[in-house]
């Protein structure tokens, strides 16, 4: 049991983070908290990709001199990192749009509590 956690602690953390994110999105009535939950969820998934791409004792995949034979074990696969960079951009823009919408909602209704907004509808 302990061994399992010790070996897979990163995955356990990610699962917990995903759970937290979901709880925030579904369980919270405040729109900002929903947004925070959403961000946590996105970050957890990005983390998952990075953990999957982790390689012990490997370095950035830039071949300096090009003389020595290339050993794949020594280099990290750059693809997941590059992809996650894009995913982060997407996450940032999503947050940006979301916050913009929240600002408008606040202007229209004077509150960000979902219950109070629903009362006004």
């Amino acid at each position: 049991m302990i061994d399992f956690f010790a070996e897979h602690y990163s995955h356990v953390c990610i699962v917990v983070l995903i759970g937290v994110g979901f709880f925030g999105m579904v369980g919270k009535r405040n729109l900002v908290k929903k947004l925070i939950g959403m961000s946590v969820l996105q970050s957890a998934i990005i983390l998952f990709w990075l953990v999957a791409a982790f390689k012990e004792d490997a370095t950035i995949p830039i071949v300096k001199d090009g003389v020595s034979p290339i050993v794949p074990e020594e280099y990290v696969n750059p693809l997941p990192h590059a992809l996650m960079l894009t995913a982060i951009v997407v996450a940032v823009v999503t947050s940006g749009v979301a916050i913009a919408l929240l600002v408008k909602i606040y202007r229209n209704y004077g509150t960000l509590e979902e219950d109070q907004i629903l009362e006004q509808l």
Binding site: I60, I62, L85, T86, V89, V90, V92, V93, G96, V97, I99, A100, V103, R107
Partner: protein, 152 residues
């Protein structure tokens, strides 16, 4: 509201001092991006962070004239256009989109790629920095301005 200038002298001075440092580091991250971790996006975000720091510390009245929201919006579009233009320039030399290795910056294949990616990173950095600034400005703006998005 919350972005009125801070009256605290220490905050103002520190911000003024830190911002250029951040910007220089951002440029390093940007220009060294293809040799080490870093690149246009990271650099751009740091530049945006420095601008936002100044706006937070000094207030809009002092910082807006330096980089106005309109300039930021256009800068974002311009940055994305640089990216697309460099990508499309490859057509001219028989490559496919983003095949910047084909653009004859230099005779050396690897140098060509190096220059090409640098130009693209500059575009990305410009887009990022300006877009984030514009988003920041937009969110606190008086009612009436539109949505914002960035070119990624």
């Amino acid at each position: 509201m919350m972005r009125s200038a801070s009256s605290n002298l220490i905050v103002r001075v520190t911000a003024r001092f830190v911002a250029p440092v951040i910007q220089i580091f951002a440029l390093y991250v940007l220009f060294h991006g293809h040799y080490s971790p870093g690149g246009g996006f990271q650099g751009g975000v740091m530049i945006a962070a420095s601008i936002i720091l100044l706006r937070l510390a000094l207030g809009n009245r002092e910082t807006r004239p330096l980089i106005s929201t309109a300039v930021a919006t256009r800068g974002a579009a311009l940055g994305a256009l640089i990216f697309l233009a460099v990508g499309a320039l490859a057509f001219r030399y028989g490559g496919e989109f983003l095949d910047y290795g084909m653009i004859p910056f230099s005779d050396d294949e690897s140098m060509r790629r190096s220059h090409g990616i640098l130009l693209i990173e500059v575009g990305v950095a410009l887009a990022c920095a300006c877009a984030l600034t514009a988003v920041y400005d937009d969110l606190g703006e008086a009612p009436g301005r539109g949505e914002e998005r960035s070119g990624d």
